[in-house]
Amino acid sequence: MEALFFNVDSGFLEGIVRGYKAGLLTQNQYNNLTQCETIEDFRTQLSATDYGNFLSNEPPPISTSTIADKATQILVDQFNYLRSNAVEPLATFLDYITYAYMIDNVILLITGTLHERDTHELIERCHPLGVFDSMPALCVASNVEELYHTVLVETPLANFFRDSLSAAELDDLNIEIIRNTLYKAYFEDFHAFCQSIGGPTFDLMSRILAFEADRRSINITINSFGTELSKEQRARLFPTIGKLYPEGNNLLARADDVEQVKAACEGVADYRVFFDSSSSGPGGGSSRAPPNGSTAHLLGDLDDAIGVGAELEDRFFLHEVHLNKQVFLQQFQYAVFYSYLKLKEQEIRSLTWIAECIAQDARDRIHDFIPIF
């Protein structure tokens, strides 16, 4: 039924987003990019793609971060175009996508303030999709309750925040807990929202969200080894919508080392591969430091278990790309919007990685990016 009237409201935007998706770089273009000798070459090569002349007005030398910023700006412009043309319930759906960025921004700001970084610098580093009006005021908060009552109460995040309300002081551990509680609440709420839309949107989104939730659970578990996070606390942070829920989550909650995590994931066929051949991954076991800090933040801090984590991270990304690509096989659903955003984000990460490798002359690692098509 939803197919009958889908195009009335969202046909145009779906067309647009599929067009955007057709502009994603292909394997061939990635090959060309990896052959570049300098960033200048890189720019010339990119100008032959959908990126066009997005760098042509930049005076040389171009830094990697400029490329990332400009590329992100393109993505943000596209998203804003979609958002401003969207009709309910797509508008809310798109809003939900931005909430994840809001959470990241909030966490970034309070962590930064905790470590007494300059507020303006922090605000510049925030993801433009997650910016909200009263965001800068976050830096005055010194404990969780204050944080909620001063700023977050009027943002859409307020709903997610209610569960983690406590007068606890803000410290690194607490922030991490807040982040994960927020994400848990966010995933569950998003899931519920998709359920209310129903149809293919829910089918596809539940698959993606389940994976995202499980990824988070696994990350939390691995990262919590050797920290003062108690197992009960840990269990409370796991989202309840994943494929691992409930028995996998229970196993994860009791896990003490990576082997047990692996055992917990045994139950889900898709996840088995993540741990299967941990020794011979694409990176050859070499730890891969992300080109810029923001990647790490998106995933939660992986610094603790970088050996396993970095490789796991790559596989997560691969699986994410795989899931998001599949979404485009179905029509009349909103998941394409989510997937396009994620794919484009992945593409920007790959571009930045390649550019960084060129800039640092690390040719041997240049192929470690994650291609989409």
Partner: protein, 837 residues
């Protein structure tokens, strides 16, 4: 072939040429060819990445220069006062060819860098200064506005105090407070004051309200004038705020929130005298700064004016250089021999002109080695190039937007020059409206030069582009208007009418009497007043559209023949053209003949009533051979119709089977003789080329000559194609003939619309007399004329244009036009300028 005088009938004969250019003259050669605009270069290194080509370094440098020039343009545009940019035709041309070319470019590059760095520095200074100025201005506003708050607050305090005095007995602390108020520091309230962007104010207020748990005492006022960012020119509006709070922690918090929200906080003293002092100081500093800022702005302006002097020529040079190097990148660069090899298409007739250009380029560059031009034999399909002038360009564009003609195919654009305005005029026939179109077109043509330079905007630009089409459409409309005898829905009495109306008494209907004359040209004006006018014009126009349509389609069908002959498909004449023609003529050609015959008969003297031709056509199919004697047109009609019908029906299987059968025969013949299709060498040239070819071979074959898709005919494909063609043609004949009835419909609608417009407006006021009558006539007359122009000429004109377009694209082109070619796009600087403009 190449010696033929160029016509629009077929596209120009093209040659694939190869240029062998020494490295030293390469740049100048391409520049010269670009000026000539006659060669379309082929990409000889399609497998090479754009950044791995030979001239990437140069392109990058030019890109850098282009970026600088863009930067200057942006700066000049942003400047509020207009800075003159000297137009291109007025500036000294920069010579970028010849032996000094490299030097010129180097000089230009350094010049651009210098200008840029100077401009950037000045902008930075300007920015710093204006930032400081902005701060000072804001500080001044804050000082002024807070002074207002304080004054008001002081007044309020006094009131409060008096009210306290009135209402209650003096309290113990009263004296203390009295002392405090009368003291030097009037308030011991602490506060934060500053400015914030207006859009963020509500959020700011809300956040503060929550931070202070509802205990917010805040005042704010708008700053009237907007702040303008000198870099981007964006306007921001700001507000002054002052927040009162108590306690260091709170103040620090407020300060922090304010800063993080992008507000600027200014230290303001609560003491009025000190405030006045700082206000004075700020004002004096502001004045100093203004002087400095003015001077900086002036120098910057001067710099921009210098830049503006030569900006246009820089732009031109940069654009051309970029095109040259991009073309050079398409060429094959033999590093060992220091030569470049180019391949490209050019009109065969222009080879001599190109050779002259090459020699000229050699002379210019001052070297003795000249490029070598050689014609290559090829089997690839050359691009389609119709040499148009400003008159034919519009008509050709109409056909090109349907599809680019195949190489050397009969070009319908040539015939559209006449048929298009004519079919338009059939629908638009009105002397008056035609004259309006005609004069508008004449006006555009006379002011052609001025208008071509001006930027006309998209809509008027389109009309201007089609000015010659409009001219002919107007002229033809006058002609058809004369035939319909229509001028603004009235008729002309040019000659003596063939009918006399007897004088009518009271309201009776009179019948016109023929007076033996025949009206010389067009419709007799007597019909205008006749009651059965509509019935007459209806029948006349309907039949006329069928006649015109069948003629147009027959003509279009005939255009197949030159194509079949040129492309050596003579059998197609018998398998395709003749059956189609017979089919069309036996049914609709016959109908046309009947129409013409029916017109020639004087039915008043005939014994039978005039038969309905439509019924005749239908019964020709439904009950062949039987004719109702009452509706018989001529004796022997039944037999003739049966014969015609049999011929038409017989044509269908011929059309369906003949071509595939011939092909099948041919295929069997080659196979039975033992031949097998070979992927032979496509580029076997005349023997004179063999030597050169051999030489190239020795060098490892420089040119990439990829095989054109091999002509492989699948028999099944031919059959299916022919079936589709047959069905399409036979059904198309019927629907297309009916489609020409739009000529009738639109012409009738046009005539009726203009009549209605006349009746509703001018007809009402014509009879009035006196001053009122004159005024009404003028007012209504103007209204009538505007409506005529906008509704009848522009709107109706566009609709008639659209239908004429359709009749050409669908009804005529489908009969013969293959449109499988691709456009010839030569490297041309003139075109480059057009695109940039």
């Amino acid at each position: 072939m190449g010696d033929e005088y160029p016509t629009l009938f077929r596209s120009e004969g093209m040659s694939l040429i190869q240029l062998i250019v020494p490295r030293e003259v390469a740049h100048d050669t391409i520049a010269e060819l670009g000026e000539l605009g006659d060669v379309q270069f082929k990409d000889l290194n399609p497998d090479v990445n754009p950044f791995q080509r030979s001239f990437v370094g140069e392109i990058r440098r030019i890109d850098e220069m282009a970026r600088r020039v863009r930067y200057f343009t942006a700066q000049i545009e942003k400047e509020k006062d207009l800075i003159p940019i000297r137009p291109l035709y007025d500036s000294v041309p920069l010579v970028t060819v010849g032996p000094r070319a490299a030097q010129t470019i180097d000089e230009l590059d350094t010049k651009l860098i210098e200008h840029e760095s100077r401009l950037v520095r000045m902008n930075e200074n300007y920015q710093v200064l204006s930032d400081r100025m902005k701060e000072l201005v804001e500080a001044r506003h804050v000082l002024r506005e807070t002074a207002v708050f304080f004054d008001r607050a002081a007044g309020a305090e006094r009131e409060i105090r008096t009210s306290f005095d009135d209402s209650s007995a003096p309290l113990l602390q009263h004296d203390d407070r009295e002392a405090q108020f009368s003291g030097n520091a009037q308030f011991d309230l602490e506060f934060v004051a500053g400015t914030i962007e207006r859009s963020r104010l509500p959020t700011f207020e809300r956040v503060l309200w929550r931070v202070l748990r509802g205990n917010l005492y805040m005042n704010h006022t708008d700053i009237q004038e907007p702040f303008i960012d000198p870099q981007t020119g964006a306007e921001t509006r700001k507000n002054v705020f002052i927040i009162f709070a108590h306690g260091d922690t709170l103040l620090a918090k407020i300060q922090k929130v304010a800063e993080s929200m992008g507000a600027t906080v200014y230290p303001i003293d609560s003491n009025a005298d000190k405030r006045a002092d700082s206000l004075r100081e700020v004002t004096s500093r502001l004045e100093d700064l203004q002087v400095v800022l003015f001077n900086t702005g002036n120098t910057r302006r001067m710099e921009l004016v210098t830049v503006g002097e030569s900006l246009a020529s820089w732009q031109d040079v940069v654009q051309k250089e970029k095109a040259i190097y991009e073309t050079l990148n398409l060429l094959n660069y033999d590093v060992r021999r220091k030569t470049l090899i180019a391949e490209g298409w050019c009109p065969t007739r222009d080879i001599t002109a190109i050779q002259v250009a090459l020699r000229h380029a050699t002379d210019e560059s001052g070297t003795s080695v000249s490029p070598i031009l050689r014609e290559l034999p090829t089997k690839k399909t050359p691009p389609t190039f119709h040499r148009t002038n400003k008159f034919t360009e519009g008509f050709q564009t109409i056909m090109d937007s349907y599809g680019i003609a195949s190489y050397q195919e009969v070009n319908p654009g040539l015939f559209a020059v006449i048929t298009f305005p004519f079919l338009f005029a059939v629908m638009f026939g009105d002397v008056g409206h035609g004259l309006i179109l005609f004069t508008a077109a004449i006006f555009m043509i006379l002011r052609e030069r001025q208008l071509a330079k001006a930027d006309l905007g998209e809509i008027f630009g389109t009309f201007f582009f089609g000015r010659y089409i409009i001219l002919l459409m107007g002229a033809f409309s006058v002609y058809t208007g004369l035939i319909y005898n229509d001028i603004f829905s009235k008729s002309l009495h040019l000659f003596r009418s063939g009918w006399d109306f007897p004088v009518a008494h009271s309201n009776e209907t009179v019948v016109a009497v023929s007076n033996g004359h025949t009206y010389l040209f067009g419709l007799d004006p007597a019909w205008r007043e006749a009651e059965n006018q509509i019935i007459f014009t209806n029948s006349y126009k309907m039949k006329m559209s069928i006649v015109l349509g069948v003629i147009h389609m027959t003509f279009a069908l005939c255009l197949q023949v030159p194509n079949h002959i040129r492309f050596n498909r003579r059998s197609d004449i018998w398998t395709n053209f003749v059956p189609s023609m017979l089919f069309l003529q036996c049914i609709f050609g016959y109908l046309v003949l009947c129409i013409l015959y029916k017109w020639t008969v004087n039915w008043e003297n005939a014994t039978t009533v005039p038969p309905s031709l439509l019924n005749m056509l239908i019964s020709m199919f439904l009950s062949p051979g039987t004719i109702d004697p009452d509706s018989q047109l001529y004796p022997g009609q039944g037999t003739v119709q049966v014969i015609l019908l049999l011929i038409a029906m017989g044509c269908v299987p011929v059309l369906l089977i003949a071509k595939p059968y011939l092909q099948y025969q041919g295929m069997k013949k080659t196979q039975s003789q033992g031949y097998i299709g070979l992927h032979g060498d496509d580029t076997v040239g005349p023997p004179t080329d063999d030597q050169l070819e051999g030489e190239e071979e020795a060098n490892g074959r420089v040119i990439t000559e990829e095989d054109e898709d091999h002509e492989h005919h699948d028999f099944g494909e031919v059959v299916i194609h022919q079936i589709i063609h047959t069905i399409e043609f036979c059904l198309g004949c019927i629907s297309h003939t009916a489609s020409y009835l739009r000529l009738w419909a639109l012409s009738l609608a046009h005539a009726q619309l203009s009549e209605v417009l006349w009746d509703m407006t001018i007809a009402n006021v014509l009879g009035m007399s006196g001053i009122v009558g004159i005024v009404a006539l003028v007012v209504i007359g103007v209204m009538w004329f505007t409506l005529t122009v906008f509704i009848l000429c522009i709107m109706e004109g566009l609709s008639a244009f659209l239908h004429a377009l359709r009749l050409h694209w669908v009804e005529a082109n489908s009969k013969h036009y293959e449109a499988g070619g691709y456009q010839f796009v030569p490297l041309s600087f003139a075109r480059l300028n057009e695109e940039a403009a």
